[in-house]
């Protein structure tokens, strides 16, 4: 079995976001980029399948700034190959999901694989999520919001078993014919850690393969007219003062409602 895991980096959501001068994008100058957390879960799920069955795991990303770090980290965790697709201009920082999907579809059409796993969503998915768009481009079965993928299930002849999560934590178990594209919400267990030293070691050995893909001619079909920080219509009353004073005010708010046990 061969599993392809698609990775991308997104800005760290813990940070403050500013909009650039012409309001067309976020200001990327000082942003920290991290591997999309859902992609990290997709990688973990793939590695769990590898641990159990010996499946091959390839990680692939577009030639975005910083992607090498995520690819090397994935190799250090146990991925077998890392591939970087070149040919799409990503220098502006943000690339719509349809264009990204077209790049991955362009590559996957020439590959043999059983599963494509990627994060169910990313924080900058303005024009939709990668898994269903890619799945449709390749005309493959696709399932989103998945919290577990099991292979070699006796009940599934030519596919895998996937757990899809619905509102309120209800989970449906599905038999999915492969090859399939799966959007992972959470792996069966938290993503594994890998020591920085090991990532450095892998990095020194190199090993990211580059593949040139023709850039897609069509995009998402929408224009961003303006980006802005949400207007704060009903703003919270801000508690100010020293740490101790703010703590005192918070306790008083709870106490005055008779809620302090």
């Amino acid at each position: 079995m061969r599993i392809v895991v698609i990775l991308k980096q997104v800005p760290d959501l813990v940070e403050e976001f500013e909009v650039n001068q012409d309001g067309s994008d976020i200001d990327r100058e000082y942003l920290t980029l991290l591997l999309n957390e859902f992609d990290n879960h997709a990688l973990e799920e793939a590695l769990l399948i590898k641990d159990a069955t010996g499946a091959g795991v390839d990680v692939v990303g577009l030639d975005d700034s910083g992607i090498d770090q995520s690819l090397y980290s994935a190799l250090a965790k146990g991925a077998d190959r890392a591939i970087k697709l070149t040919g799409l201009d990503t220098s502006s920082g943000w690339v719509d999901t349809h264009a990204r999907a077209a790049m991955f579809a362009g590559w996957l059409r020439g590959e043999t694989f059983d599963l494509v796993l990627t994060g169910v969503q990313a924080a900058d998915d303005l024009d939709g999520q990668l898994a269903p768009i890619l799945g449709s481009m390749l005309d493959l079965a696709q399932v989103s919001v998945v919290v577990g993928v099991h292979v070699a299930d006796v009940h599934v002849a030519d596919g895998v078993s996937a757990e899809q999560e619905f509102a309120g934590g209800v989970v449906a178990t599905l038999a999915v014919t492969t090859p399939a594209v799966i959007g992972v919400q959470a792996a069966r267990q938290p993503p594994r850690y890998v020591p920085i030293a090991k990532i450095r070691q892998v990095q020194q050995a190199g090993g990211i393969e580059q593949v040139a893909i023709a850039a897609p001619s069509v995009g998402a079909g929408l224009a961003v007219r303006r980006m802005y920080s949400p207007e704060q219509t009903s703003h919270a009353e801000m508690l100010t003062g020293s740490d101790a004073e703010v703590a005192e005010k918070m306790i008083e708010l709870i106490r005055s409602r008779g809620l302090l046990k």
Partner: protein
């Protein structure tokens, strides 16, 4: 161009979902603006069509293959229902089914899609959809001038009232053409396991989000929670990281809570979380980002660092 607006209805446990009515109310308004009609597409459980009175037309697709939702067969069904109707706009929710279907429909129907939408307006012939991205921290106003478009809307963006109307919409029952073997087959469903604490049944909840940074530091939150006799709840990233069990998760994919006080640390207020807690009576939020969307929802807030604040709170609550 046909100026109809299609809503992909969703149902669970024999009832239409709230988001279906939220979309339908908005669809009707937009269709009125454009001089078209609101059309609801209902896959499975065709008997629910009578409740979709706000629609001018309900297209149902029902049969043995549609008893349970599966991405593949429902996608075929909604595409068949749209057929050659050529609506101006198709509206879905950012639910699990909405995430499955919206992107796939955008490819199959060759239509632009805006996701995580909180507002949609008609501007002449154009659709202007505002998307809330980067965990709710940035709004992006998108203009679609193509003759067709899709939006996937965040729950709670529109009032559901306008979608609840008595009426007798025309119902068109579509007989699905014979499909090949389904690529996605439903096998079973499991309700979430009960946890040690029922966070939906307590007066006070202390909640922690990704701002806490590490599993070890959750202890700081737990100490304060213990001091005030409250359980600790969490937003999705904390649960996905395995720092707290799933039974403590508040939000779209977790539990909906309505405590008398909800005290939150390091939660910026992504739509997924707000969906589960915005009705709490008293909301106090601690987040170092003064522009975090949580401060729109909270009644009281502070930008004091949670690592400085929590020890003070624990001390004062115990004293």
């Amino acid at each position: 161009m046909v100026n109809d607006v299609v809503v992909i209805a969703e149902h669970a446990g024999g009832a239409l979902t709230d988001t279906t009515f939220e979309l339908l109310g908005k669809a009707r308004q937009l269709a009125d603006d454009w001089g078209g009609q609101a059309i609801a597409v209902l896959v499975g459980d065709a008997a629910l069509a009578t409740q979709l009175g706000a629609a001018g037309l309900v297209v149902t697709v029902d049969g043995p293959g549609f008893v349970e939702y599966t991405s593949d067969s429902y996608l075929d069904a909604v595409m068949a229902a749209i057929g050659d109707r050529a609506p101006r706009l198709v509206m879905l929710s950012t639910t699990t089914a909405g995430l499955d279907l919206a992107g796939a429909m955008s490819v199959r129907w060759d239509a632009p899609l805006v996701s995580s939408v909180v507002a949609v307006v008609a501007e002449g012939d154009a659709v202007v959809a505002t998307s809330q991205i980067y965990g709710g921290k940035i709004m992006a106003e998108c203009v679609i001038t193509a003759d067709r478009a899709l939006v996937a809307v965040i729950a709670g963006s529109f009032p559901s009232g306008a979608g609840h109307r008595d009426g007798a919409p025309d119902v068109e029952a579509l007989v699905p053409s014979a499909q090949g073997a389904a690529r996605v087959v439903f096998r079973s469903r499991a309700e979430p396991a009960a946890g040690d604490v029922d966070i939906t049944a307590v007066d006070v909840l202390v909640a922690v989000g990704r701002g806490i940074g590490s599993k070890d530091d959750i202890e700081l939150v737990q100490e304060f929670a213990e001091a005030i006799g409250a359980p600790v709840a969490a937003s999705r990233p904390v649960v996905d990281a395995g720092w707290l069990p799933k039974t403590r998760q508040v939000g779209k994919s977790g539990l909906k809570v309505k405590p008398r006080a909800y005290i939150m640390f390091g939660i910026s207020g992504a739509p997924e979380h707000l969906e589960g807690m915005r009705d709490a009576e008293l909301i106090i939020a601690c987040n170092t980002d003064a522009k975090a969307p949580i401060f729109d929802v909270a009644h009281y807030g502070t930008t004091v660092d949670l690592f400085d604040l929590l020890p003070e709170l624990t001390e004062k609550a115990g004293g």
